[in-house]
Symmetry: C2
Subunit: 299 residues, 2 copies
């Protein structure tokens, strides 16, 4: 037995460990979440530099496009599965960048993108999930939420827009909503783009130094920056309380745009791969339709 | 004077004529429209072959991306302009291909894509433009209609779904609607993807020969093919009666996918170029915001 053990460990020493998947790389650490202790630069894997990330993107883009087409096609065949990407982040962390550089790799025909802004009067008159539920993707689609129902436990908590008695109950409501979505066939990919306070300052400064970026700047961004610690705490709570088996949170180190874009593309590709979408079978008699087509040529 | 004239014509003989713009290349011929006489292969310009088209696309993609960002940015600055691309075509002509290959070059954040299917009971209970008006793009966006209000003078005319008394009045209603849109700042790019009946047969055969394409095939496509001539006539009427100064129709030769994609990309780029979108000025005091940002670093 001692012998067996030693030969086993010898073998495992020789076999290189499989690289971590994107889901493994970016999964939330166990226990209470302290975002200050999670790297904003890189996780324990992925491309080492900008060149390596650029080299990895074409294959990821091709994989995404192929899997997305199958997801779309199988829904036409009656399958009920779809995907929902939820993007949350501090200002400048790159939600818009992910939409341009990662979602932009997909076929727009199968994308349903919703940017949630400050709620309208009509939206405020309803339960906080009312406007969210209306934007859930149909089977076959990749839905993308640029901000989401998480704002209702983030900005609303940080600024006391609703009392603790209200927002503290929303975590459970969100978990129930996401569980329902998952059961209906929608795979949820929740992504927190994690940046340092210093990098945010640099990006805000860029926007103030470049007249072609003024439109991205809002004086309110600096007001919000003043609440950095409160936001980090609120994010920590949201990530911890709403990271479930059905819909886990992922923390994406986002100080480097090239790493961030690669990471989200890899995570989305892995999600699609896990769904293993398949082209549907014909719902018609192929031979019969070929004959009808041939007949139409003789007319 | 004679001298002057001759030197002028000499000069014009030496100066090569400027190449036709996309809008000029694809504009509807004058007079009654007989689509049988319009080439489905190429217009009087554009890339000569697949390689030339592929070589032209990266520059077009860059131009589209740059102009689209400015269009989006200037709307945030208060500008009211936007773009609406209307795609109409016989089955297999490439509406979905244009969305993947041309609209896919744009940033999804600024795209509002609507695919109009067979109207629902609720939509049928309203005026035919009701469902259309709800999908008009906001300023800064490029709206894309995959099928459109033109179905109401095409399929509805060909199949007598509504009597002539109804559909014949819709041309004027459509022109008034599009004039209103144009006045509100939305530039309308109407595109008819023109293919031959032979090429349609080849593409339908492809879908029947390749199991990864079955999902694109519907037996109803062959039924519709039986109405080819009636559709061509209905398209001719729609193009002629609804090609206005505010919203002209363009006929895109679409037997070759590479030509078709280049043509629509060039037309969209020209439309955006004509709008000459500009990054908006800062709506805040840049120096003051820089000082606030600097102060946030000292805290």
């Amino acid at each position: 037995m001692g012998n067996k053990k030693s030969s086993k460990s010898e073998k495992s020493a020789k076999t290189p460990a499989a690289p971590l998947t994107a889901a493994e790389l970016f999964r939330l650490p166990d226990g209470p979440v302290n975002l200050a202790k999670v790297s904003t630069e890189r996780a324990a894997g992925g491309p080492a530099d900008k060149q390596a990330a650029a080299a990895a993107m074409p294959a990821l883009a091709e994989k995404l496009a192929g899997l997305q087409e199958k997801l779309y096609a199988q829904a036409i065949g009656g399958d009920r599965r779809g995907v929902l990407v939820v993007l949350q982040a501090m200002d400048t962390a790159g939600k818009d960048g992910i939409i341009e550089k990662v979602i932009g790799l997909c076929n727009p025909a199968g994308i349903k993108l919703t940017s949630f802004k400050r709620p309208t009067q009509e939206e405020l008159a309803h339960d906080f999930l009312w406007r969210i539920e209306r934007q859930v993707p149909a089977p076959g689609y990749i839905g993308v939420f640029n901000r989401s129902h998480y704002e209702d436990v983030l900005v609303q908590r940080v600024h006391n827009i609703v009392p603790k008695e209200i927002w503290s109950k929303r975590y459970a409501t969100i978990n129930a909503f996401e569980r329902k979505l998952d059961r209906s066939g929608i795979s949820i990919v929740k992504v927190f783009l994690h940046i340092s306070k210093q990098v945010q300052a640099e990006r805000l400064a860029d926007r103030l130094d470049d007249p072609t970026k003024y439109w991205k700047f809002n004086p309110g961004d600096i007001d919000e920056r003043g609440y950095w610690d409160a936001y980090q705490e609120a994010y920590g709570a949201a990530l911890q309380r709403c990271s479930t088996v059905a819909a886990p949170w992922h923390v994406i180190p986002s100080d480097h745009k090239w790493y961030r874009n690669w990471a989200v593309a890899a995570l989305l590709a892995q999600t699609l791969e896990n769904l293993a979408p398949q082209y549907p079978a014909a719902t018609f008699d192929v031979g019969e339709q070929r004959a009808r087509l041939a007949a139409s040529l003789k007319l």
